[in-house]
Amino acid sequence: MTTNQPTPKPAAQPGKPAASQVQKEDAMWLQKEMINKNYHDLAVAHDVGRKVSATFVPGNLNELLMCFDFARSLPETNALQNGLRKKSGKMIMDAEREGHSEDVCTYVKADLGMMQAGQIGPTGEKLPVPDVLVLSYTGCFTFMKWFELVRQKYDCETTMLHVPYQGDGKISENMVQYVVKQLKEEVIPTLERVSGVKFDIDRLREYMKESVNAEEDLVAVLQSAKNRPSPIDGYFGGVYYIGPMFTAFRGTPEASKFYSVLRGEIEERVRRKQGPITPDGEMTEEKYRLVVEGPPNWTSFRDFWKMFYEDGAVVVASTYSKVGGVYDFGFRHDADHPLESLARYCLGCYTNLNFPQRIDMICKYIDEYQADGLLINSIKSCNSFSAGQLLMLREVEKRTGKPAAFVESDLVDPRYFSAANIKNRLESYFQMINQKRRATAGAATAH
């Protein structure tokens, strides 16, 4: 599939003209189909006798969960999909009315608010109460409270996988063995009991082999942004690219197909020296190349993206696109050492890296992707990402000599997105980059 064909568009629906005007790559439409199909699978899971698991994106054990035939729900994805569809604001306020603090993570409140309102999922179908909560406690303390809250409400079976933080900036054998032991002694026995399916490690190996195919293609896609112009946006577009890999599809043939199609499209764009596809069509002039740290805002996702592409800014690398696994520095699931490999995957997720590692990664991206600077989108809800980002900004500026900027928003709370403020800051930032370029050019001429 190549992009010299007209981009397929959804059939126009009465009263919904906007959707038909949105432009996406073929793979983006395919991704949307996959996500929607997963919601349908979840909705009918109990009717067809399937058990349902819920787990978090970072450190998700998708291949392992598939070994037990679970339908797989990811509450963060549910919250963000509700955010994209402008449904999360009410859910958050409903949760706050029930006594949840305005200070805490809005993913949690959007999830709890959705439950309060009858578990109607983003696509309008009722989602089942999970049969098991797999508390993959990777890189975020809030996850622990989140599933304790869900368990309190629904009395779901819960299994904890504690993944130690890389405080020293490395993965020790002690950490790996701790995670493996938990898998063997806690997680797998619980999943066997809840599902009634016996664990088969060879089945796990097969899924992991499938994962590697997709991981290779995903890395090729993300690294295509090293080209000029970049054929992708590694942040706003990146969230489409990571969708299947970070959710219920890693290890499936569908994911392998998706990433193969995507890679083909992107390689074709590289050959044609085309810029990324935005909701308003192809970006024809690349003026600024940025690295972005932090998750996106979902409730105003398209407006936020537009502030970039209408000024010719493309995100060539982002840390958010590593939140469900850091693959671009070499990690691949290893079917020969399946449990150790799952442990290393969990331990290596972006928010489980310590601060010096995160700064190193950003500096490396700025260098390797020839970026003009760093933009931090600091998310009120996510202390795991946000706490300390101002130091990160200063360190990156110091080490790279490239300008950095800071905007604030939230994940799914529409009350915390100020378009005017963000736009002002972005425009100032682009001016700053221009000044820096002029200064650099002036210095070069002087020599």
């Binding site: 029930e98 006594g99 949840h100 603090s101 200070d103 805490v104 993570c105 949690v108 508390l135 406690y137 975020c140 303390f141 809030t142 622990m144 409270k145 989140w146 304790e148 809250l149 368990r151 309190q152 009395d155 819960t158 904890m160 504690h162 130690p164 933080y165 405080g167 020293d168 002690n174 950490m175 063995q177 701790y178 032991k181 938990q182 002694e185 806690e186 310590n354 601060f355 010096p356 590692q357 995160r358 700064i359 600091s378 009120k380 202390n383 795991s384 946000s386 706490a387 300390g388 980002q389 101002l390 130091l391 360190e395 604030e408």
Partner: protein, 388 residues
Amino acid sequence: MSLKEVVGRCEALFEDLHFKSVRDWKAAAPGRKAIGFMPIYVPREIIHAAGMLPVGIFGGGDQIEVIQGDAYYQSYICRIPRSTIELGVTGRLDGLDGMLFPSICDVIRNLSGMWQIMFKDKYVRYFDVPQNFKDGVGGEYYVHEMEILRDDLAKLAGREVTDDDLRNSIRVYNDNRKAVRDLYAYRAQKPWQAPTSEVYLVVRAGMVLPPEEHTTLVREYIAAAESENRPRRDNARVVLTGSFCEQPPLGLIKSIEMAGCYIVDDDFHLVTRWHLQDVEVDGNPLWNLSKSFLHRSADTPSKYTERREDKGRFLVESVRKSGAEGVVFAAASFCDPALLERPMLLEVLDKHGIPYTAFKFAENTGQMAPIREQAGTFADSIKLWSAA
């Protein structure tokens, strides 16, 4: 020492944010070192066994103006990391040779990496603790983590930290824990004799004093308080919870008491009461610390509750044991663990028919009138309606 002298000494230690007592302790003998730690829990025995002074760093309270620290954090982050950075960048923590950042939350976790960048000449370690409570799983992991700490501190000290050193330190801290447990029991029994505004200071002194000295001080306080004849008021007996990390200003504790509440249990300075019983001395000391951590330690929102039916049990038990009539939730603003935990605990309290009230604070909260009014109304409601 008289009661006034004991409390006066503790107050002076509390107010000294230049940690002069720590510097004095170091200066008293060559080669002495001090290691800072943040809430909630670190095994202080290992630091002590290395011949070093464990120093609890609990933020800047309401006594310092945070200027530089604010430049590191967005408005929606709690206050303790910014005042801790303020302490660091203004040189107040220069007397510390290292800092430990225990696993409390994402903010303190990230602060460990920031500290590595900002204070490159110091020993800095994020100290993870297990959320799996099986000896062969979480225990093995934890013992290994403690071994790393022991080896690191031995290098820093320039000498080996032996098992006997550790056993001796466990003994010393068992004495200290016993003294603090006795103090808490005494306050629960006679809160008019040992008000929390004093008990807080006495326990807080243990964050900077050597444990042997602190144990003596606690015992002196209990004896001095008992010798006083203080008026007994018809106050409501409450458990205060949610303040396990960032500390409320002392004025807030006084306001709650002045509003008609006797605080008969709390979760301040949990490091002193983390182990609910004496830690076993004989045998492998690190395994003893581990077993005590896994099986006989306090509950806090930063610790996973394995079974749904155990959620809130520790708090309900605290209410029962201390003879409290209600619970005051006092959580720091933007404290994720406390604020996410709160709805679950409220539900459990509702089930047990235990009244509660809840508010947020910051360590530099200055306006006490609303808190005093809320606590007063709560105390009145307990006194007027609970017996009905």
